[in-house]
């Protein structure tokens, strides 16, 4: 019997400090055993349990795209016991990952459709995975127009800044980067909250356009009415939730919203689905 609680051994290959407050670091992990890497077949939107022996596990969205081979990547906010310890670890250190877990964004459904990605703060990780996945040479033609609205408090709090700049330069993706405020005279992108920029920049809704939205509760709360005004149906709004988790496989009982587990039945839900579920997230 396969033990679903046993992590794969991985080694930290690289650590990148992402934000000016140094609270977000990206960990590039390589599998110790090539057979484990073959088993770790994932799609953008899924998550994994990062395991630090002696500290515990944390559920973190996979920030790399399945099209990027040889490593998996996670961007971790320094919050609690495990994530704080992780922030002290060095390249070469050994840790574990368990997964992939949960459901990805609905890539079969999105094929041939326009995709509007709306993200805020450090919830941009699986959205980064999605963008890299869709922009992959073999995949770009499988999707329609791609819009990205991504905001952070300040320019220094944006994740993946080099990649954002590279995507800005492309003509097959519409980037709308924004910050809440900045005194940087060289800032050449948007200034304003995500809901405001969404109102200005997001395309009008149609049957062929889906929004994927991921961010702090306050951003989601104020973005949803904007999408309603733009005519997005609730089955065309796709969200990724988080809740406290332990097992990640629907057994330990804590992450439920109604009869659904965020870990196993989510973390991806349409707003239409969420409308029928108690809002315990």
């Amino acid at each position: 019997m396969q033990n679903p609680y046993l992590p794969y051994a991985v080694r930290i290959e690289d650590i990148i400090t992402e934000t000016e407050d140094k609270n977000l670091k990206t960990f590039k992990l390589a599998f110790e055993n090539p057979a484990d890497e073959e088993k770790f077949v994932y799609a953008a939107g899924q998550f994994a349990e990062l395991s630090v022996t002696g500290k515990g596990e944390i559920p973190i969205g996979i920030a790399s795209s399945p099209t990027e081979k040889g490593f998996v990547m996670f961007t971790v906010n320094k919050v609690g016991l495990v994530s704080s310890h992780l922030h002290t670890m060095q390249p070469g250190d050994l840790m574990g990952i368990r997964g992939p877990l949960g459901n990805s964004y609905p890539w079969e459904l999105l094929e041939g459709r326009n995709v509007v990605i709306i993200g805020g703060g450090f919830a941009f990780t699986t959205l980064r995975a999605s963008i890299v996945y869709m922009l992959d040479l073999a995949n770009r033609s499988r999707f329609g127009e791609i819009h990205v609205i991504y905001g952070a408090r300040s320019p220094g709090m944006l994740l993946y800044r080099d990649e954002l700049a590279a995507w800005e330069a492309r003509d097959d993706i519409h980037m709308h980067i924004t910050v809440d405020a900045t005194d940087d005279p060289d800032w050449k992108y948007n200034v304003g909250f995500v809901p405001t920029i969404t109102e200005k920049k997001a395309p009008q809704a149609d049957a062929e356009t889906y929004a994927i939205i991921c961010g702090p509760p306050i951003m989601i709360k104020f973005t949803q009415p904007v999408l309603d005004n733009l005519g997005y149906g609730h089955d065309h709004i796709i969200m990724s939730l988080e809740n406290r988790m332990k097992c990640g496989i629907g057994m330990c009982g804590r992450c439920n919203i109604g009869r659904h587990f965020v870990c196993k039945d989510g973390p991806v839900f349409t707003l239409a689905q969420l409308n029928g579920i108690p809002k315990e997230y």
Binding site: M1, Y5, S51, T53, N243, G250, C252, R259
Partner: protein, 356 residues
Amino acid sequence: MKVIYIEKAQWASGLEKAGDSFRLWGPVRRGPFYAFDKLASGQVPALDFRNTRLSAKGLVYPQSEKMFEYTLDPGQPDHDLLKEAQKDYSPRAVLGIRPCDADAFELVARNFDTPEYQDPYWLRAREAVTLVGLACAAPCSTCFCTSAGSGPFSTKGLDILLVDSGGNFLAQVVTPKGEAFAQAAGWRQTADDTAAAEIETHRQAAEARITAHVPTDRLKQQDTLELHAAPFWDDVAFACINCGTCTYLCPTCWCFDIQDETHGRQGVRLRNWDSCMFPLFTLHGSGHNPRGQKVQRVRQRFMNKLKYYVDKYENGIQCVGCGRCVRHCPVNIDIRKVCELMNSYTLAGDSCAVVS
């Protein structure tokens, strides 16, 4: 179903024989209560009890269980790697378990044995155990198993059901595992043709003694969000002190926590029973807590047992009616009353009027 006849005089000697091939567990007296424990050689289980204080779930799903072991000593080649903890999965028989507790294993299996994932600890321990149940002739006033899909003579989950018939037991052999246990104990005498009728008489008498009848027929058709928003939750939760007793005693509560515990450089990854009654159960790293208030947690417990589970598995309620939470709740919260409130709730109706 095959019924064998066991003279009570053969009970102890049979158990001693079975002890050669099974680890024997059963109820023993501990102060004013009974608890399941390993039986010493020659020790017989206490069968003169109504029910144990803690359910039997811990026999298969210990309150604290090692999952993995590790060393953090960088001098060791396997440092920081998790290794499976060694467990004893040799055959084990549990004697005198009540039918409600055995039925609970069937119910909990829906959580631990799923198409996508199988919990290896629970499944191996469950596989290793043979359940020799004792039918309840005298149910408690708090029992409502017959409303919860179980019953004082239910054989669900059991391998053998013992029915006390005065000077002897009539033992219904339910599964091949039960057959193997009877063989090991040397109990071979098939009961005569009147046994089935006698068991049926005892069963009817026992069921007639259960006076609590809890309606569950409308739970499925109730609207989840309407129930969730019902006004009675504040009343239900008012006296609750979130002690978690109900969840720990419950044979069908399965929630757990996972923790690493290190002593020096050696450690174990453990899982421990957890409870939806505790705020930490759902506390996010950010400080946000989706069930930060007591009323939200009390509602979660009852909604999960009496609505979410009902909808998810289409197999009745997540409760076997053992009544432990009713008996031991320090503030007298009664799941039977809450079930009635939920079952009869209508948006327009006055929720106070439907409770007698």
